[in-house]
Protein backbone atom coordinates (compact mmCIF):
# COMPACT_ATOMS: atom_id res chain seq x y z
CA UNK A 1 0.00 0.00 0.00
CA UNK A 2 1.49 3.32 -1.09
CA UNK A 3 0.11 5.33 1.84
CA UNK A 4 1.53 2.81 4.28
CA UNK A 5 4.97 3.11 2.67
CA UNK A 6 4.68 6.90 2.75
CA UNK A 7 3.72 6.86 6.42
CA UNK A 8 6.62 4.52 7.20
CA UNK A 9 9.00 6.98 5.52
CA UNK A 10 7.53 9.93 7.43
CA UNK A 11 7.88 8.08 10.74
CA UNK A 12 11.45 7.04 9.90
CA UNK A 13 12.48 10.65 9.28
CA UNK A 14 10.77 11.88 12.45
CA UNK A 15 12.51 9.16 14.46
CA UNK A 16 15.89 9.85 12.83
CA UNK A 17 15.70 13.63 13.30
CA UNK A 18 14.58 13.45 16.92
CA UNK A 19 17.06 10.70 17.83
CA UNK A 20 20.05 12.53 16.34
CA UNK A 21 18.90 15.78 17.95
CA UNK A 22 18.29 14.12 21.30
CA UNK A 23 21.75 12.57 21.29
CA UNK A 24 23.66 15.68 20.24
CA UNK A 25 21.61 17.90 22.61
CA UNK A 26 23.54 20.98 21.43
CA UNK A 27 20.70 21.99 19.13
CA UNK A 28 17.87 22.00 21.64
CA UNK A 29 19.92 23.60 24.39
CA UNK A 30 21.06 26.46 22.17
CA UNK A 31 17.60 27.04 20.70
CA UNK A 32 15.88 27.06 24.11
CA UNK A 33 18.62 29.24 25.57
CA UNK A 34 18.21 31.79 22.77
CA UNK A 35 14.43 31.87 23.29
CA UNK A 36 14.80 32.46 27.03
CA UNK A 37 17.54 35.08 26.51
CA UNK A 38 15.31 37.08 24.16
CA UNK A 39 12.52 37.06 26.74
CA UNK A 40 14.90 38.17 29.50
CA UNK A 41 16.25 41.02 27.35
CA UNK A 42 12.72 42.17 26.51
CA UNK A 43 11.88 42.05 30.20
CA UNK A 44 14.83 44.30 31.04
CA UNK A 45 14.06 46.67 28.19
CA UNK A 46 10.44 47.14 29.30
CA UNK A 47 11.32 47.86 32.91
CA UNK A 48 9.40 47.04 36.09
CA UNK A 49 5.96 48.28 34.96
CA UNK A 50 3.78 45.17 35.35
CA UNK A 51 1.08 46.35 32.93
CA UNK A 52 3.63 47.22 30.24
CA UNK A 53 5.18 43.75 30.67
CA UNK A 54 1.80 42.05 30.34
CA UNK A 55 0.93 44.10 27.24
CA UNK A 56 4.20 43.19 25.57
CA UNK A 57 4.16 39.52 26.62
CA UNK A 58 2.52 38.13 23.46
CA UNK A 59 4.84 40.03 21.12
CA UNK A 60 7.95 39.09 23.09
CA UNK A 61 6.89 35.43 23.16
CA UNK A 62 6.37 35.17 19.41
CA UNK A 63 9.59 37.03 18.63
CA UNK A 64 11.49 34.62 20.90
CA UNK A 65 9.86 31.67 19.12
CA UNK A 66 10.64 33.19 15.72
CA UNK A 67 14.36 33.78 16.32
CA UNK A 68 14.89 30.51 18.16
CA UNK A 69 12.90 28.73 15.46
CA UNK A 70 15.23 29.98 12.71
CA UNK A 71 18.11 28.28 14.51
CA UNK A 72 16.10 25.07 14.69
CA UNK A 73 15.12 25.15 11.00
CA UNK A 74 18.71 25.66 9.89
CA UNK A 75 19.75 22.69 11.99
CA UNK A 76 17.14 20.40 10.52
CA UNK A 77 19.07 20.05 7.24
CA UNK A 78 22.51 20.61 8.74
CA UNK A 79 22.77 16.99 9.86
CA UNK A 80 22.21 15.80 6.29
CA UNK A 81 24.59 18.34 4.80
CA UNK A 82 27.44 17.71 7.26
CA UNK A 83 27.49 13.96 6.70
CA UNK A 84 26.64 13.96 2.99
CA UNK A 85 23.41 12.15 3.83
CA UNK A 86 21.15 14.39 1.75
CA UNK A 87 21.95 12.55 -1.48
CA UNK A 88 21.19 9.08 -0.09
CA UNK A 89 17.99 10.54 1.38
CA UNK A 90 16.96 11.82 -2.06
CA UNK A 91 17.84 8.51 -3.69
CA UNK A 92 15.41 6.40 -1.70
CA UNK A 93 12.47 5.53 -3.94
CA UNK A 94 9.12 6.98 -3.01
CA UNK A 95 7.40 10.33 -2.77
CA UNK A 96 9.69 13.16 -1.73
CA UNK A 97 6.94 15.02 0.07
CA UNK A 98 7.36 12.41 2.79
CA UNK A 99 10.80 13.88 3.56
CA UNK A 100 9.20 17.28 4.10
CA UNK A 101 6.36 15.82 6.14
CA UNK A 102 8.81 13.95 8.37
CA UNK A 103 10.97 17.01 8.93
CA UNK A 104 7.87 19.14 9.52
CA UNK A 105 6.61 16.78 12.23
CA UNK A 106 10.04 16.52 13.85
CA UNK A 107 10.41 20.31 13.84
CA UNK A 108 6.89 20.71 15.27
CA UNK A 109 7.83 18.47 18.20
CA UNK A 110 11.17 20.27 18.61
CA UNK A 111 9.63 23.77 18.53
CA UNK A 112 6.73 22.56 20.69
CA UNK A 113 9.16 21.52 23.44
CA UNK A 114 11.00 24.81 23.12
CA UNK A 115 7.65 26.64 23.28
CA UNK A 116 6.79 24.96 26.60
CA UNK A 117 9.99 26.32 28.13
CA UNK A 118 9.61 29.78 26.60
CA UNK A 119 5.96 30.08 27.67
CA UNK A 120 6.69 29.03 31.26
CA UNK A 121 9.59 31.49 31.48
CA UNK A 122 7.43 34.18 29.84
CA UNK A 123 4.60 33.69 32.37
CA UNK A 124 7.04 34.25 35.23
CA UNK A 125 9.10 37.07 33.68
CA UNK A 126 6.17 39.07 32.28
CA UNK A 127 3.92 38.47 35.28
CA UNK A 128 1.19 37.08 33.05
CA UNK A 129 -2.00 35.82 34.69
CA UNK A 130 -3.11 32.59 33.02
CA UNK A 131 -6.40 33.55 31.32
CA UNK A 132 -9.66 31.64 31.69
CA UNK A 133 -9.50 30.97 27.97
CA UNK A 134 -6.22 29.06 28.32
CA UNK A 135 -7.34 26.18 26.07
CA UNK A 136 -7.84 28.68 23.24
CA UNK A 137 -4.44 30.18 24.02
CA UNK A 138 -2.86 26.75 23.65
CA UNK A 139 -4.75 26.44 20.35
CA UNK A 140 -3.28 29.75 19.16
CA UNK A 141 0.22 28.66 20.19
CA UNK A 142 -0.25 25.40 18.27
CA UNK A 143 -1.70 27.03 15.16
CA UNK A 144 0.95 29.76 15.09
CA UNK A 145 3.72 27.23 15.58
CA UNK A 146 2.47 25.00 12.76
CA UNK A 147 2.48 27.89 10.28
CA UNK A 148 5.89 29.07 11.44
CA UNK A 149 7.44 25.59 11.41
CA UNK A 150 5.99 24.63 8.04
CA UNK A 151 7.34 27.71 6.28
CA UNK A 152 10.61 27.50 8.22
CA UNK A 153 11.14 23.86 7.25
CA UNK A 154 10.32 24.61 3.62
CA UNK A 155 12.59 27.62 3.28
CA UNK A 156 15.38 25.86 5.19
CA UNK A 157 15.26 23.16 2.48
CA UNK A 158 15.42 25.85 -0.19
CA UNK A 159 18.34 27.63 1.51
CA UNK A 160 20.19 24.41 2.36
CA UNK A 161 21.86 24.34 -1.06
CA UNK A 162 23.33 27.78 -0.55
CA UNK A 163 26.64 28.44 1.18
CA UNK A 164 25.07 31.49 2.85
CA UNK A 165 22.09 29.52 4.14
CA UNK A 166 22.23 31.00 7.66
CA UNK A 167 21.82 34.48 6.16
CA UNK A 168 19.49 33.46 3.37
CA UNK A 169 16.91 31.69 5.53
CA UNK A 170 15.77 34.73 7.57
CA UNK A 171 15.74 36.86 4.41
CA UNK A 172 13.40 34.40 2.71
CA UNK A 173 11.38 33.45 5.74
CA UNK A 174 10.62 36.61 7.70
CA UNK A 175 8.55 38.44 5.04
CA UNK A 176 6.48 35.31 4.43
CA UNK A 177 5.82 34.88 8.14
CA UNK A 178 4.35 38.35 8.67
CA UNK A 179 0.69 37.25 8.29
CA UNK A 180 1.14 34.23 10.60
CA UNK A 181 2.96 36.23 13.25
CA UNK A 182 0.48 39.08 13.05
CA UNK A 183 -2.46 36.73 13.51
CA UNK A 184 -0.75 34.70 16.25
CA UNK A 185 0.37 37.78 18.19
CA UNK A 186 -3.01 39.49 17.90
CA UNK A 187 -4.92 36.37 18.97
CA UNK A 188 -2.51 35.73 21.87
CA UNK A 189 -2.71 39.32 23.07
CA UNK A 190 -6.52 39.34 22.83
CA UNK A 191 -6.76 36.14 24.90
CA UNK A 192 -4.23 37.35 27.49
CA UNK A 193 -6.16 40.60 27.97
CA UNK A 194 -9.59 38.97 28.34
CA UNK A 195 -10.67 39.21 24.67
CA UNK A 196 -12.95 42.16 25.37
CA UNK A 197 -13.47 42.88 21.66
CA UNK A 198 -14.13 39.18 20.82
CA UNK A 199 -11.46 39.31 18.15
CA UNK A 200 -9.48 36.19 19.08
CA UNK A 201 -11.71 33.78 17.17
CA UNK A 202 -11.39 35.82 13.97
CA UNK A 203 -7.59 35.78 14.25
CA UNK A 204 -7.71 32.05 14.96
CA UNK A 205 -9.79 31.40 11.84
CA UNK A 206 -7.23 33.37 9.89
CA UNK A 207 -4.44 31.27 11.43
CA UNK A 208 -6.22 28.07 10.38
CA UNK A 209 -6.49 29.37 6.81
CA UNK A 210 -2.80 30.35 6.77
CA UNK A 211 -1.80 26.99 8.19
CA UNK A 212 -3.73 25.10 5.51
CA UNK A 213 -2.03 27.13 2.79
CA UNK A 214 1.41 27.05 4.39
CA UNK A 215 1.33 23.29 4.95
CA UNK A 216 -0.23 22.20 1.65
CA UNK A 217 1.78 24.48 -0.67
CA UNK A 218 5.21 23.38 0.68
CA UNK A 219 4.14 19.72 0.55
CA UNK A 220 3.37 20.15 -3.15
CA UNK A 221 6.42 22.28 -3.95
CA UNK A 222 9.04 20.45 -1.85
CA UNK A 223 10.10 18.06 -4.61
CA UNK A 224 11.09 20.99 -6.81
CA UNK A 225 13.03 22.99 -4.21
CA UNK A 226 15.04 19.99 -3.01
CA UNK A 227 15.94 19.02 -6.61
CA UNK A 228 19.68 19.07 -7.16
Amino acid sequence: MAWRDDWRRVRAIVWKDLTTEGRSKAGFNSVAALGVTILVLFGFALGPDAQALRDAAAGALWLAVLFAGVLAFNRSYQVELESGALEPLLLYPGARWTIFAGKLLANCIFVGLMLVIVVLVGIVLFQVRVPAAWPQLIGVLALGSIGLVSLGTFYAAMASRSRAREVLLPLLLFPMLVPVLLAAMSASKALLTGDLMHEASAWMRMLVAYDVIFVVAPLLAFEHVIEV
Binding site: D5, R8, R9, R11, A12, I13, W15, K16, T19, T20, R23, S24, V79, E82, S83, G84, A85, L86, E87, P88, L89, L90, L91, Y92, P93, G94, A95, E227, V228
Partner: protein
Protein backbone atom coordinates in the same frame (compact mmCIF):
# COMPACT_ATOMS: atom_id res chain seq x y z
CA UNK B 1 13.90 9.11 -24.53
CA UNK B 2 11.21 6.47 -24.87
CA UNK B 3 10.72 4.63 -21.62
CA UNK B 4 9.43 1.56 -23.46
CA UNK B 5 12.65 0.99 -25.34
CA UNK B 6 15.61 -1.26 -24.56
CA UNK B 7 14.68 -2.87 -21.26
CA UNK B 8 17.25 -5.55 -22.17
CA UNK B 9 19.95 -2.96 -21.53
CA UNK B 10 20.70 -1.99 -17.96
CA UNK B 11 22.07 1.48 -18.72
CA UNK B 12 21.55 3.26 -22.02
CA UNK B 13 22.89 6.81 -22.18
CA UNK B 14 22.53 8.77 -25.41
CA UNK B 15 24.23 12.11 -25.97
CA UNK B 16 24.33 12.96 -22.25
CA UNK B 17 25.64 16.47 -21.76
CA UNK B 18 25.80 18.60 -18.65
CA UNK B 19 27.08 22.03 -17.95
CA UNK B 20 27.68 23.95 -14.73
CA UNK B 21 27.35 27.63 -15.55
CA UNK B 22 29.23 28.22 -18.78
CA UNK B 23 31.42 25.13 -18.41
CA UNK B 24 30.42 21.92 -20.17
CA UNK B 25 31.50 18.99 -18.01
CA UNK B 26 29.90 16.33 -20.21
CA UNK B 27 29.71 16.87 -23.97
CA UNK B 28 27.52 14.11 -25.37
CA UNK B 29 28.28 10.74 -23.82
CA UNK B 30 26.91 7.56 -25.39
CA UNK B 31 27.16 4.53 -23.19
CA UNK B 32 25.50 1.15 -22.83
CA UNK B 33 25.90 -1.37 -20.05
CA UNK B 34 24.24 -4.75 -20.38
CA UNK B 35 22.92 -6.92 -17.57
CA UNK B 36 25.65 -9.16 -16.22
CA UNK B 37 28.34 -6.63 -17.06
CA UNK B 38 30.75 -4.65 -14.89
CA UNK B 39 32.15 -1.60 -16.57
CA UNK B 40 34.97 0.57 -15.25
CA UNK B 41 34.77 4.31 -15.88
CA UNK B 42 38.20 5.90 -16.10
CA UNK B 43 39.46 9.40 -16.61
CA UNK B 44 41.40 12.25 -15.09
CA UNK B 45 40.03 14.44 -12.32
CA UNK B 46 37.29 16.72 -13.65
CA UNK B 47 36.73 14.62 -16.77
CA UNK B 48 33.04 14.14 -15.92
CA UNK B 49 32.94 10.59 -14.53
CA UNK B 50 31.16 11.43 -11.29
CA UNK B 51 28.80 13.82 -13.07
CA UNK B 52 27.77 11.02 -15.44
CA UNK B 53 27.20 8.69 -12.50
CA UNK B 54 25.10 11.32 -10.69
CA UNK B 55 22.97 11.87 -13.78
CA UNK B 56 22.35 8.12 -14.07
CA UNK B 57 21.47 8.08 -10.34
CA UNK B 58 18.88 10.88 -10.91
CA UNK B 59 20.80 13.27 -8.65
CA UNK B 60 21.49 15.62 -11.55
CA UNK B 61 19.51 16.35 -14.67
CA UNK B 62 21.33 16.31 -17.99
CA UNK B 63 21.50 19.64 -19.84
CA UNK B 64 21.07 17.69 -23.10
CA UNK B 65 20.57 14.08 -24.14
CA UNK B 66 19.07 11.44 -21.91
CA UNK B 67 19.51 8.06 -20.30
CA UNK B 68 17.47 4.98 -19.50
CA UNK B 69 17.98 2.55 -16.65
CA UNK B 70 16.21 -0.70 -17.47
CA UNK B 71 14.01 1.28 -19.84
CA UNK B 72 13.11 4.00 -17.33
CA UNK B 73 14.00 7.55 -18.27
CA UNK B 74 16.18 9.21 -15.62
CA UNK B 75 14.44 12.57 -16.16
CA UNK B 76 10.83 11.54 -16.78
CA UNK B 77 10.64 8.51 -14.46
CA UNK B 78 13.25 9.13 -11.76
CA UNK B 79 11.37 7.24 -9.08
CA UNK B 80 11.28 4.08 -11.22
CA UNK B 81 15.01 4.48 -11.82
CA UNK B 82 15.66 4.83 -8.08
CA UNK B 83 13.98 1.47 -7.47
CA UNK B 84 16.65 -0.19 -9.61
CA UNK B 85 19.84 1.55 -8.59
CA UNK B 86 22.26 1.33 -5.71
CA UNK B 87 24.52 4.38 -5.55
CA UNK B 88 27.73 4.63 -3.57
CA UNK B 89 29.09 8.16 -3.41
CA UNK B 90 32.39 9.59 -2.16
CA UNK B 91 30.95 10.50 1.22
CA UNK B 92 29.41 7.69 3.27
CA UNK B 93 26.13 9.55 3.84
CA UNK B 94 25.63 8.15 7.33
CA UNK B 95 24.26 9.72 10.50
CA UNK B 96 27.05 10.10 13.05
CA UNK B 97 24.78 10.08 16.10
CA UNK B 98 22.99 6.86 15.10
CA UNK B 99 24.49 3.41 15.65
CA UNK B 100 25.45 1.19 12.74
CA UNK B 101 22.26 -0.83 13.19
CA UNK B 102 20.10 2.28 13.49
CA UNK B 103 21.57 3.67 10.27
CA UNK B 104 20.58 0.46 8.50
CA UNK B 105 17.17 0.46 10.18
CA UNK B 106 16.55 3.95 8.83
CA UNK B 107 17.68 2.91 5.34
CA UNK B 108 15.42 -0.16 5.47
CA UNK B 109 12.42 1.94 6.49
CA UNK B 110 13.09 4.41 3.68
CA UNK B 111 13.47 1.55 1.21
CA UNK B 112 10.11 0.13 2.32
CA UNK B 113 11.54 -3.22 3.43
CA UNK B 114 9.08 -5.18 5.57
CA UNK B 115 11.42 -7.47 7.48
CA UNK B 116 14.99 -6.48 6.77
CA UNK B 117 17.71 -8.75 8.10
CA UNK B 118 19.90 -5.98 9.47
CA UNK B 119 22.15 -8.29 11.45
CA UNK B 120 22.86 -10.38 8.36
CA UNK B 121 23.77 -7.25 6.40
CA UNK B 122 26.08 -6.07 9.17
CA UNK B 123 27.59 -9.52 9.45
CA UNK B 124 28.16 -9.56 5.72
CA UNK B 125 30.31 -6.43 5.82
CA UNK B 126 32.11 -7.46 9.01
CA UNK B 127 30.55 -4.89 11.33
CA UNK B 128 28.38 -7.05 13.55
CA UNK B 129 30.76 -6.50 16.50
CA UNK B 130 30.13 -2.71 16.41
CA UNK B 131 26.47 -2.80 15.45
CA UNK B 132 25.36 -0.86 18.56
CA UNK B 133 28.13 1.72 18.43
CA UNK B 134 27.61 5.20 17.05
CA UNK B 135 29.04 5.85 13.61
CA UNK B 136 30.83 8.96 14.95
CA UNK B 137 33.59 6.69 16.27
CA UNK B 138 34.00 4.66 13.07
CA UNK B 139 37.08 4.87 10.85
CA UNK B 140 36.62 5.89 7.20
CA UNK B 141 36.93 2.26 6.15
CA UNK B 142 34.27 1.13 8.62
CA UNK B 143 31.94 3.87 7.38
CA UNK B 144 32.56 2.64 3.84
CA UNK B 145 31.63 -0.87 4.89
CA UNK B 146 28.44 0.39 6.50
CA UNK B 147 27.53 2.20 3.27
CA UNK B 148 28.11 -1.12 1.58
CA UNK B 149 25.73 -2.82 4.01
CA UNK B 150 23.11 -0.31 2.90
CA UNK B 151 23.68 -1.45 -0.69
CA UNK B 152 23.32 -5.06 0.44
CA UNK B 153 19.93 -4.20 1.95
CA UNK B 154 18.79 -2.36 -1.18
CA UNK B 155 19.65 -5.38 -3.36
CA UNK B 156 19.73 -3.13 -6.43
CA UNK B 157 19.92 -4.38 -10.02
CA UNK B 158 22.22 -1.59 -11.14
CA UNK B 159 25.20 -0.54 -9.04
CA UNK B 160 26.59 2.94 -9.62
CA UNK B 161 29.78 3.13 -7.59
CA UNK B 162 31.96 6.22 -7.32
CA UNK B 163 35.48 5.18 -6.33
CA UNK B 164 34.18 2.33 -4.19
CA UNK B 165 37.59 1.10 -3.12
CA UNK B 166 38.74 4.30 -1.44
CA UNK B 167 39.44 3.92 2.30
CA UNK B 168 39.09 0.14 2.13
CA UNK B 169 41.76 -2.27 3.32
CA UNK B 170 42.62 -5.47 1.48
CA UNK B 171 39.79 -7.40 3.14
CA UNK B 172 37.39 -4.55 2.36
CA UNK B 173 38.40 -4.55 -1.30
CA UNK B 174 37.84 -8.29 -1.45
CA UNK B 175 34.43 -7.82 0.16
CA UNK B 176 33.51 -5.09 -2.30
CA UNK B 177 34.52 -7.29 -5.23
CA UNK B 178 32.57 -10.20 -3.80
CA UNK B 179 29.40 -8.13 -3.54
CA UNK B 180 29.78 -6.60 -7.00
CA UNK B 181 30.58 -10.03 -8.43
CA UNK B 182 27.47 -11.56 -6.88
CA UNK B 183 25.27 -8.76 -8.18
CA UNK B 184 26.67 -9.01 -11.71
CA UNK B 185 26.52 -12.80 -11.71
CA UNK B 186 22.87 -12.54 -10.71
CA UNK B 187 22.05 -10.50 -13.82
CA UNK B 188 22.75 -7.08 -12.38
CA UNK B 189 25.03 -4.46 -13.86
CA UNK B 190 27.72 -2.27 -12.36
CA UNK B 191 29.24 0.99 -13.56
CA UNK B 192 32.24 1.82 -11.42
CA UNK B 193 34.30 5.01 -11.38
CA UNK B 194 37.91 4.05 -10.84
CA UNK B 195 41.20 5.81 -10.43
CA UNK B 196 43.13 2.58 -10.17
CA UNK B 197 42.23 -0.52 -12.08
CA UNK B 198 44.12 -2.92 -9.86
CA UNK B 199 41.46 -3.49 -7.16
CA UNK B 200 38.82 -4.41 -9.75
CA UNK B 201 41.10 -6.08 -12.25
CA UNK B 202 39.64 -9.55 -12.00
CA UNK B 203 36.04 -8.42 -12.34
CA UNK B 204 35.88 -5.79 -15.05
CA UNK B 205 34.34 -6.78 -18.35
CA UNK B 206 35.48 -3.59 -20.03
CA UNK B 207 36.61 -0.07 -19.36
CA UNK B 208 35.46 3.25 -20.73
CA UNK B 209 37.69 6.28 -20.61
CA UNK B 210 36.22 9.76 -20.42
CA UNK B 211 38.34 12.69 -21.47
CA UNK B 212 37.09 16.29 -21.33
CA UNK B 213 33.48 15.20 -21.15
CA UNK B 214 33.57 12.77 -24.05
CA UNK B 215 34.11 9.04 -24.37
CA UNK B 216 37.72 8.80 -25.41
CA UNK B 217 37.85 5.03 -25.53
CA UNK B 218 35.37 2.18 -25.13
CA UNK B 219 37.14 -1.15 -25.29
CA UNK B 220 33.88 -3.06 -25.75
CA UNK B 221 34.46 -6.81 -26.06
CA UNK B 222 38.13 -6.45 -25.21
CA UNK B 223 39.54 -9.22 -23.10
CA UNK B 224 41.23 -7.49 -20.22
CA UNK B 225 44.66 -8.91 -19.64
CA UNK B 226 46.69 -7.33 -16.84
CA UNK B 227 48.83 -5.54 -19.46
CA UNK B 228 45.72 -4.08 -21.08
CA UNK B 229 44.40 -2.96 -17.72
CA UNK B 230 47.68 -1.28 -16.90
CA UNK B 231 47.65 0.49 -20.27
CA UNK B 232 44.05 1.63 -19.73
CA UNK B 233 45.01 3.00 -16.37
CA UNK B 234 47.78 5.07 -17.90
CA UNK B 235 45.54 6.63 -20.55
Amino acid sequence: MSSAARVDIAIDAQGVARRFGARWVLRGVNLQVRPGEMVGLLGANGSGKSTLLRILATLLKPSAGGALVYGHDVVKRPDDVRRHIGFLAHSPGLYDDLTARENLQFAASMLGLERPDLDAALDRVGLSHVRDERVRGFSAGMQRRLSLARLVLANARVLLLDEPYSNLDVAGIALMNELIGESVAGGGAALVVLHELAPAAGLLDRTITIREGRIADDDDDAFLEPEALAAAGER
